[in-house]
Symmetry: C2
Subunit: 127 residues, 2 copies
């Protein structure tokens, strides 16, 4: 699915008229299952599914036993990522969805998968 934006008027108003989407950054502390590559990949795919976006490719890298995992999803609506540091119970994720998709819908899925004790969510309107 491609999202197209129609512009008219002056360039000065472009910021108001281009709304590629919403990008949220997710920090979890005191999280679990961070060294399990399967959990990370499944959580990433489930998070995308919860946002009703289309996953075009997923790339996963496990940095070794006891170490973290990085998983990236290339979406038709931008991207999502999960990076984990099991040694300190920390997870950094982001979900960027263009168009009318809502990346916040990923949050319940990620909370259920990693059961953080504390979290911080930061939202950016992109475009």
């Amino acid at each position: 699915m491609e999202t197209h934006f129609v512009l008219s008027g002056e360039p000065a108003t472009m910021t108001e008229m281009i709304k590629p989407g919403t990008h949220i950054l997710i920090d979890f502390w005191g999280a679990s299952h961070l060294g399990d590559a399967m959990t990370v990949e499944q959580a990433l795919r489930a998070a995308a599914h919860a946002c009703d976006v289309n996953v075009l490719a997923v790339t996963v890298h496990h940095f070794g036993p006891g170490c973290g995992v990085t998983a990236l999803a290339l979406l038709a609506e931008s991207h999502a990522s999960i990076h984990t540091w099991p040694e300190v119970g920390y997870l950094a994720a982001d979900v960027f969805t263009c168009g009318n998709s809502d990346p916040h819908l990923a949050l319940p899925v990620l909370r259920a998968a990693f059961t953080p004790q504390r979290e911080r969510i930061t939202e950016h309107r992109r475009g």
Copy 2:
């Protein structure tokens, strides 16, 4: 820049103890070469090289003639992405590098590749 924080708990103490890295969000308006998948992929790889990080995988998707490109780099030090909307001259990128790498070193490379008329850079300390 629109940023808001939703806090659950008190991450301050852990934030001081865990320093996974720096994540910058890059918005370019009035940019060029946004429909050229080769330019986007090369810019992403060159940006990673400028940051002295290690690219483990790159995934690129071109949404079709006249349409945008998404490129994701899975880094040993987290990730980098570029998403383009050539129809409106807009590019959204991010570079997240853990450890002591500096993602801002990607900016001259990206500016040279896409020659934006206007930009916004937003930095987050992750962890």
